[in-house]
């Protein structure tokens, strides 16, 4: 079987009913995606499937063949150039034990991709599937809002440039 992970096509030898999580972690050695519950209840294993946040611990690899999967390792192009969410996660001192944060970031980045200016209720809805036992929720929420604001500023400057060009 072949899987497309972080833009690369990989040959997979695991059995087809193996949850994606264990293939990512143990066969492909990408350890950033975490095991928390094995039942889709905590979100620690969240990855993107065609840009949508899914729980890899309950997704057999047979269901994702030929589709694009991305993990926390691909969230920033390289470690020098972080995703705005990662920057604000650092700025706002979000991580404590840090174990759930890969999943939190993957859920948050999928949210912003589809809804660049989420309301508080949108954030709650998108993030309530991700448990943080250290209780970093207030900071996660603040960091998502800050990142959304930053996107807004970028969009605005782009609009100004466009208006200049047309005048």
């Amino acid at each position: 079987m072949k899987l497309t992970i972080n833009g690369e096509v990989k040959d997979i030898s695991s059995e087809s009913d193996t949850p994606l999580l264990w293939v990512i972690r143990d066969e492909l050695k990408l350890k950033g995606t975490k095991f928390g519950c094995g039942a889709g209840l905590c979100g620690a294993c969240t990855v993107h499937l065609e840009g949508v946040a899914i729980r890899s611990c309950i997704t057999p690899i047979s269901a994702v063949e030929g589709k694009h999967i991305s993990t926390i390792e691909s969230l920033s192009a390289d470690s020098q150039e972080l995703h705005p969410l990662q920057e604000y996660w650092i700025e706002f001192n979000v991580p404590q034990c840090g174990y759930c944060q890969s999943g939190q970031l993957m859920s948050a980045s999928a949210l912003l991709k589809n809804n660049p200016q989420p309301s508080d209720a949108d954030i709650d809805l998108a993030m309530s599937g991700n448990i943080c036992r250290c209780g970093t929720y207030p900071r996660i929420k603040a960091a998502i809002k800050a990142a959304a604001k930053k996107t807004e500023v970028v969009d605005l400057s782009y609009a100004l440039d466009v208006s200049k060009m047309s005048s």
Binding site: D26, C37, I72, Q96, Q101, S128
Partner: protein, 738 residues
């Protein structure tokens, strides 16, 4: 070169390793580190060091209090960095192996727990940095031939003021190690601090937001095999028959072996082992003495409370004679359930047991006790066990116990090779070592104005040390032969409270230090143990004593027809710091004036781990569900090293405490734990979390704990608000609306 100086309370040693690095370490007088004269020749000595400066100018700091979210990685590094005038970001941080030199000096064990990492390191780590600085400055003074006063440190370099002369720590470290040691190590005054007390970013964030932080579960050793274990559903039973042999050779399963706790399946992948586990049938022995359900537990506790008055833990005035003279009493009973830790990283351990060597890769709060757990189940000596500790995906006390380490070692010893054992969430929930269930009986005698004159608090709960001592005691005496281990456990119990073993205060801590100056009071502990394994859980005894005490204070205030803040204040005349935090939250949260229609306020205060915390809660009942709106929190934890980490820990404790107050409950049926995963042992989620505001009281007192003290006041504050919302007392945790 190897010298030792005695500073105020520490023996600090500077020396050169075989590879030319300068190391600064603590020397334990009369203990093994003095032998390091010989070790030093072959360059192995740096393993005992806190700080190593290499010739290529790397600064390596060995973190001996584990990072599990509470911020030691940042906080302890900041202590060394401050005195060394070097940005904490420039240190490489490595996790300490199991060594006596890294013991937590408050316990005599290499434990991270009890919220004392910062307070116990406060002096010695600053001295470590300050000594390195002195030696480097003296060396630069010799090399440049300039006065010491004309030199200063600029991030890993010594620079000469007024010339371009500049040398890296790496260039100076060989000379520095040959300097004679000063008789005293001066430390900075708080006014001179550059990093301590300032808001700063955590040093582990970058690793944790990019998925690069390595936890125990991320260990990957070439050729390793995966193990899962089916454990007895009823504690204290054994597998007597199983069909494991039929699984071998099918679908990647390589072996099935019996270990103490159950039956282990070893396969090429975790998923293969997990699938085979579903086809494993086991017949278990019976444990007739095991309690069946929670009613049995509390019936046992009530019987014990009547048969045994318990040990007096604090006595002021004469409660008995006041009771004899009084006709008016307020009585209340409070209960708290068993609780699982539910760390996000399930228990796991990778073990490689060889003839004279064991390697253990795991996330543990107690590396030396982990080594004992390994030595007990293998033929290997304690000194031959290497613990490679990792980032910890949540501890909260769970990883003070080393059952998962023993299991992995037992399996590797039987099968050979590297074994990675991973617990499922269900196994993690059902085979935890739990926060004990407890019963509190409080009886208060009232005067004619309905004011308290005598307070009697009886706590019915097990002793955690009865469960914990068997691995912990041998770790205190690592030179003792293995056949002594069980004896040491017994000695540990017999000598609890002596200088040999710390007293087990876990059942009543907080109750014995109640700050209210009633005319008379007594606190009693009646031991009762239901037979379910128990251990330390974030804030330990305070997690239930604060609930009982502060709930009773709320009830007494109502009885006296007084505002509960003013009622507490009346009895806090001898505890200004307790009153200080209480007054602060009353101010922050507009006590008496809920911020919105239908909202109710509650209040509580408690001192634990040296720190004072008050919390004011605002909640609503919406569709017969409790909705926490806001929590205001004030903490006085002495001098603050990193204010944002203090705030983070308060937020963390509040959400952890709210989870316990509203949802947390482990129950038994036929002796089997009923909860298994996050659907029936729920955690607070973002949409349920309150807004939180934290204030830190300014103080120049020595720093005290922050990882736990934010938790105890939360449950009673919620209970007090719920009373107003429902006109009914909530005396049993978790709180359920009728």
């Amino acid at each position: 070169m190897n010298q030792i100086i005695t500073s105020r309370r520490n023996f600090i040693k500077a020396s050169l390793t075989g590879t030319g690095s300068l190391t600064i370490a603590l020397a334990l007088p009369g203990c093994q580190s003095l032998h390091s004269h010989s070790l030093q020749e072959n360059g192995n000595w740096e393993a005992n060091a806190w700080l190593e400066i290499t010739t290529d100018n790397r600064l390596i700091f060995t973190l001996d209090r584990v990072e599990m979210g509470q911020g030691t990685y940042t906080g302890l590094t900041t202590l060394v960095a401050e005195e060394l005038d070097t940005d904490p970001d420039l240190f490489e941080i490595v996790f300490a192996p199991a060594k006596t030199v890294y013991r937590n000096r408050d316990y005599g064990l290499q434990i991270t727990g009890g919220s004392n990492s910062l307070s116990s390191s406060w002096q010695v780590l600053r001295e470590t940095g300050a000594l390195a600085k002195l030696l480097l400055l003296k060396s630069a003074s010799d090399v440049f031939q300039v006065p010491l006063d004309d030199l200063r440190i600029d991030n890993k370099h010594v620079v000469h003021i007024g010339s371009a002369k500049r040398a890296s720590f790496g260039d100076l470290c060989v000379i520095a190690s040959k300097q004679s040691l000063p008789s005293d190590i001066p430390l900075k005054q708080p006014s001179e601090f550059t990093y301590i007390g300032k808001k700063s970013k955590r040093l582990d964030s970058h690793l944790k937001v990019t998925g690069q932080a390595n936890y125990g579960i991320d260990i990957d050793i070439p050729g390793m095999r995966y193990a899962v274990v089916s454990r007895s559903p009823v504690y204290g039973t054994k597998a007597i028959l199983h069909n494991g042999q039929s699984l071998i050779g099918v679908n990647g399963v390589e072996a099935v072996v019996q270990i103490k706790s159950g039956i282990a399946i070893i396969a090429q992948s975790y998923w293969q082992a997990k699938k085979a586990q579903k086809r494993l049938n086991i017949e278990w022995s019976k444990n007739p003495s095991m309690v069946k359900n929670m009613e049995d537990v509390f019936t046992l506790y009530r019987e014990k409370s009547e048969q045994d008055d318990g040990d007096i833990k604090r006595e002021e005035g004469d409660v008995e004679s006041t009771f004899d003279e009084t006709t008016d009493f307020l009585n209340a009973e409070f209960t708290t359930p068993f609780l699982a830790h539910a760390t996000m990283e399930p228990m796991n351990c990778t073990a490689h047991v060889q003839k004279n060597k064991v390697d253990i890769w795991t996330s543990t709060q107690a590396p030396d006790i982990a080594a004992v757990a390994v030595a007990k189940v293998t033929d290997v000596d304690l000194s031959e066990v290497q613990i490679h500790n990792q980032f910890i995906g949540g501890g909260f006390g769970r990883r003070l116990s080393q059952d998962f380490v023993a299991e992995a070692a037992e399996i590797s010893a039987q099968t050979g090779g590297v074994i990675k054992l991973v617990w499922s969430r269900e196994e993690d929930t059902q085979h935890d070592v739990y926060r004990p269930a407890t019963l509190h009986k409080i009886k208060v005698a009232l005067d004619e104005n309905q004011m308290p004159v005598a307070w009697d608090h009886q706590i019915v709960a097990p002793n955690i040390m009865d469960w914990y001592v068997w691995d912990a005691s041998p770790a205190m005496f690592p030179w003792s032969p293995k056949f002594m281990y069980s004896t040491l456990g017994k000695v540990g119990l017999l000598t609890a409270g002596s200088p040999v073993t710390p007293a087990d205060t876990s059942a009543y801590e907080g109750a014995d230090s109640i700050p209210y100056n009633f005319p008379s009071l007594q606190v009693r502990h009646t031991k009762a143990d239901a037979g379910l394994p128990v251990s330390y859980w974030r804030s330990v005894g305070h997690s239930h004593t604060a609930f009982a005490i502060e709930s009773m204070m709320s009830e007494l205030a109502s009885q006296a027809n007084m505002d509960e803040f003013l009622f507490r204040k009346k009895y806090l005349t001898e505890s200004p710091r307790t009153l200080g935090v209480l007054e602060k939250v009353v101010d922050m949260g507009n006590w008496g004036q809920p911020s919105e229609e239908g909202a109710y306020q509650g209040l509580a205060v408690h001192k634990s781990f040296g720190s004072y915390v008050a919390e004011l809660v605002e909640l609503k009942v919406v569709n017969e569900e409790i909705k926490l709106l806001r929590v205001y929190c004030a903490i006085d934890c002495g001098l603050v090293v990193n204010p944002d980490i203090v705030t983070m820990q308060m937020e963390s404790c509040i959400i952890f405490g709210a989870t316990a107050a509203l949802y947390g409950e482990i129950t038994l049926k036929d002796g089997v734990v009923q909860q298994s995963n996050f659907h029936d042992y729920p955690m607070m989620r973002m949409n349920q979390a309150p807004e939180i505001e934290v204030a830190i009281i300014h103080s120049d007192e020595s720093p005290t704990g922050v990882g736990e003290p934010g938790l105890p006041p939360l449950a009673p504050a919620i209970a007090s608000a719920l009373f107003k919302a429902r006109n009914q007392r909530f005396r049993d945790m978790p709180f359920k609306l009728a």
